[in-house]
């Protein structure tokens, strides 16, 4: 059973703001989803490795060569805020405790 406080913790980690009503709703809805997914464990035994990719590919690599054109202006142009060629972000931490 997924608790309300667990959902609140997950929301905080994911930086999602949830109201009290939303927390209640999410806890019960996520719980239904989790139990539905848990059905997989009934058929998956220890000797079946969990799937992380649908396509059976390994070792997709590229050689260590440069593939790059200088385009910092274009890269910076998409940012909300820029200063002296650098991305500018709002204050990260408020005053230390």
């Amino acid at each position: 059973m997924l608790t309300r406080s667990e959902v609140a913790r997950l929301a905080a980690l994911a930086r999602i703001e949830l109201s009290d009503d939303e927390l209640d709703a999410m806890a019960s809805q996520l719980d239904v989803i989790l139990s539905a997914v848990a059905a997989v464990s009934e058929v998956a035994s220890q000797d079946i490795p969990p799937t992380s990719h649908a396509v059976p590919l390994t070792n997709v690599m590229r050689p260590d060569v440069l593939n790059w054109v200088p385009r910092s202006q274009a890269m910076l142009a998409g940012a909300p805020d820029v200063e002296n060629g650098r991305f500018r972000v709002p204050q990260i931490l408020q005053e230390e405790q």
């Binding site: 980690l13 200088p70 385009r71 890269m75 650098r86 991305f87 990260i92």
Partner: protein, 453 residues
């Protein structure tokens, strides 16, 4: 706030130190871990970025094969097992040094695991067990503006992502026991060994002062006779060999004072201050907070055993064995040899100079005195000085054959460093030869007397 400290001896009477070291090594590949951007250090901010390393929607990472090869070679050098199959994992956290809001790393399936390496301190060898070597990417560089230049109270922060996505190896030890009073030196010796190893492998520049090699130091104390590990602190980014030893010693003394007074050590991240002490940082996140999951944008890595064996054949002589061999060949005392190891890069430059024909004593003399002083003044490493090992050997040869004396030799070195060419050329155009032909000398003396009777 000054910490209470117990004397180092008193700590050792009551406790056994336990160490854990995490070393991050930035690889010197040409391109980044997941994209073709350059990894060069020190260029214009954000001049080496693309949609992949900025984490723009729709971009996809592709693994740099050279980085994988380098990681395997590091793992083999540390006597690790190489995973037949492993995956990358997504480590989620919100901090603007990673534009994707996650770092691609490895979690429960590292590429290399279960290794071991011997670290020599004085006449003793300590076995350092290796937990894992895994691959990940470096973060961008953050500058806090306003306040006092620190994160708290800053008005805002600026990001340069040139370093974001540079291949990074994390090398983690298991807990290291039974080092006793040598704990600080074992920690520093281990990091020095890794530095020399990655340089010998030519996989990283291994410069601590440039952040190519960074160390986090975990220290805890066990009361004598106890069987359970104590609570540890983790001191972050300890960036010189000396600081590694000092941080271990400081944490032993700080924790010793807390435990002796009946207190509890707080499990936390601490910061190393250059002035020689640690301060409390944030409480440590738990691994769950990062919500790791297999990286969906990358397929698994399956290192073919035949490839691993090919890479094993490329390993250079092990730095520990090389040191032992050179010390015997050169006939230095432990102390004389220790002085060489204390200067980054000196072992290599001296070895090259000996190969170029100088005696070990002469090679050691030049690199540890005149040239070390110069490197120090200019703030560069020995091998960055504009003089080669061959040129140093040539200066010594001129000295040995009596063409110049010690004082002139220093001037010749001066000339080579100033870009005046090879030693012979400097001697020529500065006119530095010692005149030992008595006939010529007598003529000159007679001439001088005749000119000014």
């Amino acid at each position: 706030m000054a910490d209470e400290l117990l004397s180092f001896d008193a700590v050792l009477e009551r406790f056994d130190p336990v160490l854990g070291l995490e070393v991050h090594v930035e690889l010197s590949t040409k391109s980044k871990m997941w994209c073709g951007c350059p990894t060069e250090f020190g260029n214009e901010p954000n001049s080496q970025v693309c949609p992949v390393c900025l984490g723009l929607p729709g971009s996809l990472p592709v693994v740099n094969a050279k980085a994988v090869e380098s990681a395997i070679r590091i793992g083999l050098s540390l006597n690790c097992q190489i995973a037949r199959w492993c995956r990358f994992a997504r480590k989620n956290y919100f901090y603007p040094d990673m534009p994707k809001d996650y770092q691609i790393s490895q979690y429960d399936e590292p590429l290399c695991f279960d290794g071991e390496i011997a670290v020599e301190v004085g006449e003793m060898a300590y076995q350092v067990p290796i937990e894992r070597v895994h691959m990940e990417e470096d973060a961008g560089k953050i500058t806090h503006i306003g306040g006092v230049g620190r994160i708290a109270n800053a008005d805002y922060s600026l990001l340069d992502y040139n370093r974001a996505g540079v291949p990074l190896m994390e090398i983690v030890t298991k807990t290291i026991h039974d080092t006793g009073a040598a704990a600080p030196e074992v920690a520093a010796g281990y990091v020095a060994l890794l530095r020399d190893m990655v340089r010998a492998l030519a996989v990283s520049q291994g410069r601590m002062e440039r952040g190519n090699l960074r160390c986090d130091v975990n220290v805890s104390l066990m009361p004598k006779g106890a069987s359970e590990l104590g609570i540890r602190s983790e001191t972050k980014n300890v960036n010189s060999l000396r600081a590694v030893a000092d941080a271990v010693r400081y944490e032993m003394r700080r924790q010793g004072a807390i435990l002796s007074a009946g207190g509890r050590v707080v499990q936390e991240t601490r910061h190393w201050n250059e002035a020689g002490y640690t301060t409390a940082g944030r409480s440590k996140e738990t691994a769950e907070d990062y919500r790791y999951f297999p990286e969906p944008d990358l397929v698994p890595l399956a290192a073919d055993p035949a490839w691993v064996e090919q890479l094993r054949a490329t390993l250079p002589e092990h730095p520990g064995k090389r040191r032992a061999r050179l010390r015997t060949e050169w006939g230095f005392t432990q102390r004389e040899f220790g002085d060489i190891l204390a200067v980054p890069g000196a072992l290599d430059t001296i070895a090259d100079t000996v190969l170029a024909g100088a005696t070990p004593i002469a090679a050691r003399k030049w690199w540890l005195t005149e040239l070390a002083r110069r490197a120090n003044e200019w703030g560069v490493a020995l091998d960055e000085l504009p003089i080669t090992a061959k040129q140093v050997a040539e200066v010594q040869a001129l000295l040995d054959t009596g063409q110049i004396n010690d004082k002139l030799a220093r001037q010749v070195i001066e000339g080579v460093l100033a870009g005046e060419g090879d030693p012979a050329a400097v001697v020529q155009h500065r006119g530095l030869t010692v005149v030992s032909d008595t006939g010529a000398l007598e003529v000159a003396v007679d001439g001088a007397i005749a000119a000014d009777p």
